[in-house]
Symmetry: C4
Subunit: 235 residues, 4 copies
């Protein structure tokens, strides 16, 4: 069996999404990449979480071809692959329909940085993508196109400083140095999405925190970053 240790890590990340209450029904998946071999390990389709074993995970190459595994991979695999190719320093990707992050995605609003909890994890507003056009939706490459749409939202945003995105009308994707980190970012994204929701309900005119406080908290935690990006959509 290929990549036994990565299989275990990816399984743990998938189970963490469930434990943290981020998975509505079965909407959720996490993957990890072995960069040297160019292989991605991802959750299979249609297996119950409580019965999922490392050997049920699917190993795919970067063309989306299954290299090992009897089950079909998660239908979002092509989106994961596009992210691995565009973001060379990530090792894991997670996707959920967690309620509050999804609500911001459905509202087609960036998630503004309204406090230090957000700033500790995401160095700026979490961008929302543009909507896909009809052609990209109708295409058999819809899932890949979703990936490209995410990448476009990070044209001027540092994907390491803001390891999360809201896909318009769909839900969040997060990433990190490995699958565990991607899952943890999904957990924290939901937490800050939830608090941001309460905040704007209390004060519709709540202002994002200043860059000085934002930098302080983010850099206190993540060390010096050469680049600070902010999506044009998110003022």
């Amino acid at each position: 069996m290929l990549l036994p240790s990565l299989r275990k890590q990816v399984l743990d990340a998938n189970l963490e999404l469930v434990r943290q209450g981020l998975v509505v029904h079965t909407f959720g998946n996490a993957s990890g990449i072995a960069r040297e071999q160019g292989l991605v390990v991802i959750k299979p389709s249609g297996v119950r979480y409580d019965e999922m074993k490392p050997e049920d995970l699917v190993i795919s190459d970067l063309q989306g071809k299954t290299v090992e595994g009897k089950l079909r991979p998660s239908s979002d695999l092509p989106t994961h692959i596009v992210l691995y190719q565009a973001f060379p320093r990530i090792g894991g990707v997670a996707h959920t329909h967690s309620e509050y992050a999804t609500a911001w995605a459905q509202a087609r609003r960036c998630l503004p940085c309204l406090g230090t909890t957000h700033a500790d994890y995401f160095h700026g507003a979490v961008p929302v993508t543009e909507a896909l056009n009809s052609e990209d939706i109708a295409s058999r490459y819809y899932e890949e196109n979703t990936g490209h749409c995410i990448v476009r939202a990070f044209k001027e945003v540092d994907y390491e400083a803001i390891p999360a995105v809201l896909v318009a009308s769909h839900g969040p994707f997060t990433w990190g140095r490995d699958a565990a980190s991607a899952a943890h970012n999904a957990v924290m994204l939901e937490a800050v999405a939830r608090m941001a929701y309460f905040t704007v309900s209390i004060n519709h005119a709540a202002e994002p925190i200043g860059r000085d406080l934002h930098d302080k908290h983010y850099l206190r935690k993540h060390g010096t970053k050469a680049y600070y990006g902010q999506s044009k959509n998110c003022t």
Copy 2:
């Protein structure tokens, strides 16, 4: 004992509604139909869920006459029967007062399709019924009239593509190919009602997703549908 296997399925569906937190106090019931025999199996009134056994369920014919069972059937039985008669390809019906779906019903608003989670299950906005008129309410056929009112809301809507309705000022009914599917649709309806609530709180002007994205997700999951319906009430 008639229909032992259907009894078990219907019991499981009723318990699933409870497990998923959809049942406020005892407001909730699921049923299943044996089309060939023309018999409906439904939850009895006044039995605690944790003590309910398959033999406690009530079997009724399509005139609402008990064929087997010592207990009274759920008072909503006549509504279930109308749905079985009007919607020939369904095998199960569920009714709950789940909080968010009920809130949309009480607000007398259709549940708009604001994201792909909704689109994966319901191929369009979930309609809200008209209010019953005073005569229909006062009638001894109130529960039957509720069923007819639901059916009217589906005059131009495909009941298979949108297997759910919000009864104005009351709460949701869902259906499916069997009782388990009806219960699962009740779970997903509550999940999307909850996320839609958060979405419109963030952005009062949140737009339903475009038909292309809606079709993509629904058809990706449910195969080609010849008919796409949208209630006139739900723009």
Copy 3:
């Protein structure tokens, strides 16, 4: 030991409030009355719920004098007594700071009847009291005055048809034929307060349900009522 069976009932009602999540910290109490003896059994102050035993409950006469019990009674006892005196057909009273009912009380808004869940339990809007005046607040009879304030809100409302009230800026009181029924009404009040909150968030202009539907549901459940009351404050 006096009234052993009533003690047990009242203890059960107090524990039910906790089990149902209605008790914030220790804010909550339920009582029952033995009409013939003119004795009230109520929760003591300062005993942990998980250690409370029937013999810890306090028995008081209708002047508020302890007849049996080593512990101090709940400080809200005088409010309970006023209700027992003004509402001769009730056998139990419950008071909580349950979150949603308290929010309506703090908002100083009647809880409108927005759906059939409400109508099944409360035959009209649940009234909110007037604020107490400064004198009544400063008085050593503050808790009694709270009771009188509740009674004034029911001058033209049938306390049996609407067995609940929102004390302005404070929280809910409910009652019923016995302590269990009072506690159950507290549970249902919180459930409908929660759904009403969601409803008005979705649609600020949500309309109370019509009297015909209201009557249908209430009377379906509670039998013919000669009197239907609506507080002037609650349109």
Copy 4:
């Protein structure tokens, strides 16, 4: 090992924050002070709650120098120390990112006293601090500056009558006669923040309760207070 009993108390207070659901990820810490020795016991950084033992806690002097302990203290230690120095009659401090209190802090709104639950614990609105200026944020004394910013918010407010603050764009700090009391105030602050959130959602114009009712409830519980303070920011 120094201060074994205080170590245990502080550990218990930290665990209480977790049990009560106030800790988002690991954001949360409680401390206690031994006034005579001038020593503070605080949660260490980077130890899992379920494995934390009394000996893992860190003991620091009032200059922030570790006196006993192998682990690094919580990074918020300097804020705690400033509070102990400015508020001579407190014995414990707690800090969380509990969701509703944090939302009010992020909204940069004082938490108004909207009901008696609040009045029972906090004798007036809970102040929100001013934002720190850029210099104070950039400084290596950021955490200390946060403490000074809190102290400024209590210039005309009695820290014993209102044992809580909302640090703008950050989250709540609470305090009390010991660590357990500080943690309990954190629990009650979250409860009243949550109910206040619901209240203003129902009625945007909800009014703080009058001073007479406020005094009645607070003084009923806490005895005569010579001083009643209200922040100028909180009308």
